[in-house]
């Protein structure tokens, strides 16, 4: 076998032009697939990381509560929930409340509807590291109860400057309008897609503006020192909360998880149960980004389909190429058969030639893809704005090539090549020696 392998390896380089023409196809397919898988893996990781850094926890608790038949969005008795989480998980968990209000901002005759996010500055300082202040600062934000920091786009739209005062008007959770005055303490930019449009206020300000009770938050984010086995952790917490009078459930599907994570007041619904109750939805980050994973899986599937079409074209090339090679090397086949090489040996020789060719050029494709990954990951910085920010980390496109993905891609392409070279190779092996030595093409 070793003999055949060494001959096959040498034969790869006998007809360099033909080998290159066929091999470049393998390289291109490998290159595309490695980049595609790296992109989808990177997108999935980046979205998860950015979500966790901005607007979701490892477990996000959202919900609604009923008072006198009227349903209100939000998490009631959130300090009790935080205490219960600490009781269940000890010091390994950090609980952060958020308050979200969607409202209009009025300034100099211009208005715009925005999402205002209230952060509890005592416990929720993680978002600070995501902001690059163009003017103002986080410390200035902490200095006033009615402080607000805005994304650059919003500030530009209104023509805001530091210390400007703006009116916010919202329909509260009960229906009555309320207004407040915000003071601009910072203008920022960020490459985190999920923070790009957030207008950050102080938690108590928004809670009061919305006329919410002091123990009400829009949602709670739970962060674990060890964010593994989140589903089991969620089940444990849901069980503990149910024991404390909450109706704790998990989202029915990925779409429900996304809705739960992005919920905000107000909503006007009626509850026919006839009792006051607090309903909670506990979503893990894996469920919240489940839709993203579905999308990236679809992207991968489309990429794989394109690769399959390319491979089919390559299969035809292999077939034609190998038949031509066999015809050109009839004397060689005939000579080998006369000195005792069996049909299987000839078949193996040609199959091995193609396998080596595929391996060699696939690895070249992998290397080229890794170079591109390196260039985008370390050298090329893309602009932050727009949806492209979903895929950026600090301005760099996040591409995460995994060894397992690369191994599977190379193995599949090599296997494919072996399969489609087998049939013309078997034809070559079955030619009788006398025919091989006497046929002239």
């Amino acid at each position: 076998m070793g003999f055949y392998l060494s001959i096959a390896l040498k034969n790869v380089f006998r007809q360099k032009k033909r080998s290159f023409t066929l091999g470049i196809n393998y390289a291109v397919v490998t290159f595309i697939l490695v980049l595609l898988f790296a992109f989808s893996q990177g997108a999935s990781q980046n979205i998860t990381t950015n979500l966790v850094r901005s607007s979701a926890g490892h477990i996000t608790i959202s919900g609604s509560y009923t008072v006198a038949g009227r349903v209100y969005q939000g998490v009631r008795r959130y300090p009790d929930i935080a205490a219960e989480a600490s009781a269940v998980f000890g010091k390994g968990v950090t609980v952060i409340p958020r308050y979200v209000v969607r409202s209009s901002l009025y300034y100099n005759g211009i208005s715009k509807r925005l999402e205002f996010t209230g952060v509890d500055t005592h416990s929720d300082s993680g978002i600070q590291g995501q902001l690059r202040f163009l003017s103002g600062s986080w410390d200035a934000f902490l200095s006033a109860d009615n402080a607000v920091v805005l994304p650059k786009d919003v500030a530009t739209y209104f023509g805001f400057g530091l210390e400007d005062e703006v009116v916010i008007a919202t329909r509260t959770r009960f229906g009555a309008f309320n207004t407040g005055t915000l003071k601009i303490k910072g203008i920022y930019e960020t490459d985190n897609f999920f923070i790009q449009s957030l207008v950050l206020c102080r938690f108590p300000f928004l809670q009061t503006l919305d006329l919410a009770e002091a123990d009400t938050a829009s949602s709670l984010y739970l962060y674990f020192d060890d964010p593994k086995q989140l589903a089991q952790k969620r089940d444990a917490l849901a069980s503990a909360l149910s024991g404390k009078g909450f109706e704790a459930t998990k989202p029915a599907d990925a779409s429900a998880a996304v809705n739960a994570v992005s919920s905000a007041s107000p909503s006007y619904e009626m509850d026919a149960s006839g009792r006051d109750r607090i309903r909670l939805t506990l979503s893990t980050i894996d469920e919240a980004v489940g839709l993203v994973r579905t999308v990236t899986a679809a992207v991968n599937a489309i990429g794989a389909l394109i690769a399959l079409i390319m491979l089919f074209i390559i299969a035809i090339s292999i077939f034609i190429n190998l038949r031509m090679t066999i015809n050109e090397r009839l004397r060689e086949i005939g000579t080998m058969r006369t000195i005792g090489v069996g049909a299987g040996g000839i078949t193996s020789l040609f199959v091995f030639e193609n396998v080596f060719l595929t391996l060699l050029f696939s690895l070249i494709g992998v290397a080229a893809a890794l170079v591109v990954v390196g260039i985008f990951g370390f050298l090329v910085r893309l602009p932050f704005g727009g949806a492209v920010a979903l895929f950026l980390d600090n301005g760099h496109l996040v591409l995460v090539p995994r060894i397992s993905d690369i191994a599977v891609i190379v193995a599949v392409i090599t296997g494919f090549s072996a399969l489609f070279s087998f049939f013309p190779a078997r034809y070559g092996g079955r030619i009788r020696p006398v025919e091989a030595l006497t046929r002239v093409f």
């Binding site: 009116v167 009555a176 407040g180 300000f205």
Partner: protein, 259 residues
Amino acid sequence: MNRLLRRIIVPLALAAAVAVPPAFAAPTQNDPAAAKIVSGWESKLNVEGVDLSTLFTLVQKKTGETDRVLRFQTFRRDSTDMYTIIFQYPDSEKGKGYLRRGDDLYFYIPSTREFVYRNRKDNIGSTDARTDLFGRQNTLAQYFVTSAGTATVSKWECDVVRLDAKVPDVSYPVQKWYVRKSDGLPVKAENFSVSETILATFYYIDYKALGNGKFIFTKLLAVNNLEKGQQTFITNDNIAVAAIPDYTFTKAYLEEKSR
């Protein structure tokens, strides 16, 4: 003066805005004189005893934008506190509608055939006109009322009544109504937020007498005080007091009319 404004008034105003005063707890009882004025105008504007159908046209004006026109038919039965609103114009709104039965208000969306439960003071078609403008008023059930002196609006001498919400389920928790002394009809209503920022002002420009001492407004101007230059002009035509079938005040009727 500027210094005074900056150092004292603005911080006080800010503190008031941030602290959000407990508007719902402000007065705890009605001023009898004010309650009498309120009952007086409600007895004129609430049309118990007859069914009322009218065609409203709303023209919304915004600075720098072309005027937006909405037209809808309303059916109103104050004796049972019900009304139905069906949009007729423009085509994008056609088929949408509201159904109010007591405290419950539903908004019908024909594209999804859904009834969405809404706050009973929903703004119609994103204009400055609220749905409660088109139904029976029940001010004393929702607000504590107090007298706030007198004022002249246009050429009319008016009593001013301040309304403070008893419950937060109202659009404007603080209101000031200016009521003509001559006939007891309101001519102006100022609407404030919980923190007492003025949000909208309604001017009742003209009324039509329906008989038996009952009236309905035929021209109303709603001015948005937060968005300068935005206002909605409402006119009311084809007013009829013929009996309306009960079926008109059902969800099925809205569904049927949207097809």
